[in-house]
């Protein structure tokens, strides 16, 4: 294991050369809880051995953490792209009076879709049977949000372009640039 869970000083001393021995010792420990604690300290135990301990396994936890950090980074990227595109829309908005209603309608549609996704996420969490269920739901929710936001930015960008045949160049540029970043 590259990222070994932290070991207690005592367990480390024992386990460095003979983890099996330490495990054997743990089995003969006074209480099941103690045994589990010692086992956890020695090696990343398989789930069935970890059963007595309610604590989430450290290796499982760091894997989850990595996933969350990664999806957050993906979201930040998509959000930055959307922000850049949005400021391009605003700069040229004065010329797009005819398209304003359509653009607004699209923005409302986006808001509704995103909020629906939030409500659905809340509801799905209520039915979650375990923490891993919740984490899976979370991953799905954030992945979809990144996807929809990218799509929404594209849609609104397309509408803005359509509304502004004359002042279209800066937007086109910005949208193209943004999506290069986003994808």
């Amino acid at each position: 294991m590259a990222t070994a869970p932290k070991k207690s000083a005592a367990a480390q001393a024992v386990s460095a050369s003979a983890p099996m021995e330490a495990a054997a010792q743990a089995v003969s420990a006074a209480t099941p809880m103690e045994a589990a604690a010692t086992l956890n300290a020695v090696i990343p135990t398989p789930p069935d051995l970890a059963e007595p301990a309610v604590e989430i396994q450290q290796s499982f936890r760091s894997a989850l953490e990595k996933g969350v950090v990664e999806s957050r980074a993906a979201f930040v990227k998509a959000k930055t792209a959307a922000d850049e595109a949005a400021s391009a829309f605003e700069v040229s908005f004065a010329a797009a009076k005819d398209g304003a209603l359509a653009i607004n309608a699209k923005a409302f549609e986006a808001l509704r879709a995103n909020s629906e996704a939030n409500f659905d996420f809340l509801k799905a969490m209520l039915a979650a049977k375990s923490l891993s269920d919740v984490i899976a739901l979370h991953a799905e929710f954030t992945r979809k949000q990144v996807e929809t936001m990218t799509g929404q930015t594209k849609d609104i960008g397309a509408l803005t372009q359509k509304a502004m045949t004359e002042a279209v160049e800066p937007i086109k540029e910005q949208v193209a640039k943004s999506f290069k970043i986003a994808v």
């Binding site: 989430i56 605003e90 009076k97 653009i103 607004n104 909020s115 923490l131 891993s132 919740v134 949000q145």
Partner: protein, 121 residues
């Protein structure tokens, strides 16, 4: 994995589900008002630039708020010591998100209404 204590009791879940439904309905109501004010729905035809500008900007800001709240929850859940703590974190998140979603729709509605009220610039 012994996760049984993570499950929400049935009657509590029914109640929570109803709360989500109600919040969703309230949200829809606020949003419909905002949309009418923006001239997007119904027969209103005048929309102000500032109003139109606001919608896109606010959608982005709200989306960011909501997704960040979900990420914060995930970070906390991962650090939870036991299923009870995870469940407490989750219900705290649900409560604050339900309020946040409604506030967002309300806020957007009042901003747009201000921007399209005759006499204001």
């Amino acid at each position: 994995m012994s996760n049984s204590s993570f499950e929400i009791p049935n009657e509590l879940r029914d109640f929570a589900e109803r709360s989500v439904d109600q919040a969703r309905k309230a949200f829809e109501g606020f949003l419909a008002v905002a949309q009418r004010a923006a001239g997007v729905a119904g027969d209103a035809t005048n929309t102000s630039q500032s109003g139109a500008k606001s919608v896109s900007a606010y959608v982005l800001a709200y989306t960011e708020q909501n997704v960040n709240a979900a990420f914060d929850l995930a970070h906390k859940l991962i650090k939870a010591k036991d299923p009870q703590e995870a469940l407490a974190l989750q219900s705290e998140y649900m409560k604050s998100q339900l309020a946040a979603l409604q506030n967002q729709a309300k806020e957007l509605g009042s901003i747009i209404q201000k921007s399209v009220t005759p006499g204001s610039t």
